[in-house]
């Protein structure tokens, strides 16, 4: 297995507040990693830096040359009146006037994420689990080989959680997509992820999920 991400002495400060300092870790191609840590320890910040949404204060990171990133952010603000259908929402990541080929790709991702039968439901009327799968389908449109999900299961009921996790597991097994999954749900992470990254007190620890026992404090 080859290395897909290498993070080197990564440091982030906002004004005077140091979020984390000198982080070092690696991700293997095809791995499933849970990013754990208490609220406000910088998980989303770390991911935003990896997504190049803003630069780190110091340090560097490097993805493998052939990497294609997919990212499902932590918060979306779609209200109950949000008009677009699940299919149209997924297709936002494509031109308005869609060729047959683009339509086929969208339909393929809708089937993959189990949304094809309800593709004409409005996003505003979709359940939390359906919405999360639509966010994932939208990110999958770029055909990523690394996918980063930020607390995708946070507001889901147990059934919807399992459904989403099985989908992620399927993507990993069938398409060899590397997964980085931010969560507070340790049992869920233990069930589905192989490795963990634990961010706390400005530091990061890495290990096998089965050995994870750090306490939230």
């Amino acid at each position: 297995m080859s290395e897909i991400l290498n993070v080197n002495n990564l440091t982030m400060r906002f004004d005077k507040k140091t979020v984390f300092k000198d982080l070092n870790f690696k991700l293997e191609e095809g791995s499933m990693t849970a990013l754990l840590g208490p609220n406000g320890t910088g998980k989303t910040t770390l991911i935003n830096i990896l997504m190049k949404m803003f630069p780190p204060t110091a340090g560097s990171f490097k993805f493998a040359a052939d990497v294609r990133l997919g990212y499902v952010p932590q918060f979306r603000n779609l209200d109950a009146e949000y008009p677009l259908s699940i299919a149209a929402f997924t297709g936002l990541n494509a031109p308005l006037i869609k060729s047959k080929k683009v339509k086929d790709i969208i339909n393929k991702q809708l089937k993959e994420t189990n949304l094809y039968d309800i593709r004409n439901t409005r996003m505003g009327e979709a359940s939390g689990g359906q919405k999360q799968r639509a966010y994932l389908a939208q990110a999958l449109l770029d055909n990523p080989n690394v996918i980063i999900l930020d607390e995708a299961t946070a507001s889901l009921d147990p059934m919807a959680k399992e459904e989403l996790m099985q989908l992620i597991e399927h993507l990993n097994e069938k398409h060899n997509i590397t997964v980085l999954f931010v969560t507070h749900d340790v049992p869920l992470a233990t069930k589905y992820m192989q490795n963990y990254l634990y961010l706390n007190h400005q530091q990061i620890a890495q290990g096998r999920m089965a050995d994870f026992k750090e306490e939230y404090e």
Partner: protein, 265 residues
Amino acid sequence: MFAYDFMRNAFLASTFIAITCGTVGVYVVARNFSFLAHTLSEIGFAGAAFAVWLGIGSLWGMLLFTLLGSISVGELSLHSEQKESSISAISALFTGLGVLFLAISGVNSNYATNILFGSIIGVDKQGVVQLVLLSVIVLLMIFSIQKALNFDSFDHIGALAHGVKSGWVSLIFLIALAMSVSIGAQIVGSLLVFILLTLPPATANYLGKTIGAMIAWSIFFALIGVWLGLYLGFLTNLPVTFFIAVIEVAIYLITYFTHVIKRSL
């Protein structure tokens, strides 16, 4: 009715304006910019009054003011914590300026009425050409950024996560919006131009589930409003703007209540 030159001009110009405002409006509603369209109407009024004072065409004064206004208000609303109050302050200032310009240029009140409430029947051939040209430019601007604009307007967070250059999209859209306000004001007047930019797309929100469908519905309702409004204005000699406002509000309310009833069933 089409035997009259002025009616032919009015129909042609308002058709293009309806298409433009209907299209741009979909993004106004998606981006929660209804308040901005409203403020720009008032800024446009001041611009038209300024043009009168200078002795140039009101369209040009409006374009100048709305362009400056939309960029500054747009930026303000993106960055300011006190969005609502700062925008109220700006619209108060501009309405005041409009009144001042009108007073010091000493035009008759008829002219002021035209600026405020529209005067499409009075549009001449040259005016039509200008309006059509500006409409086409706005539509081309929207079309040229459509992919990023769609993503950013309907899923801002997703677009950011995807590296869409949201700052550019926002700037180009604000320019297109300012131009739409200026040309839309030529039919319904600066006081009510926000009607064309918000009601047809708000109605379309209940009917379309794709951006294409929403734009089509929005243009359709904008066209019904201006065409029927012109026709009824011609028949009755009452103001066209009055009819457009009533028609758009009626369509919106009917759709809204149908939606509410359907939902509660």
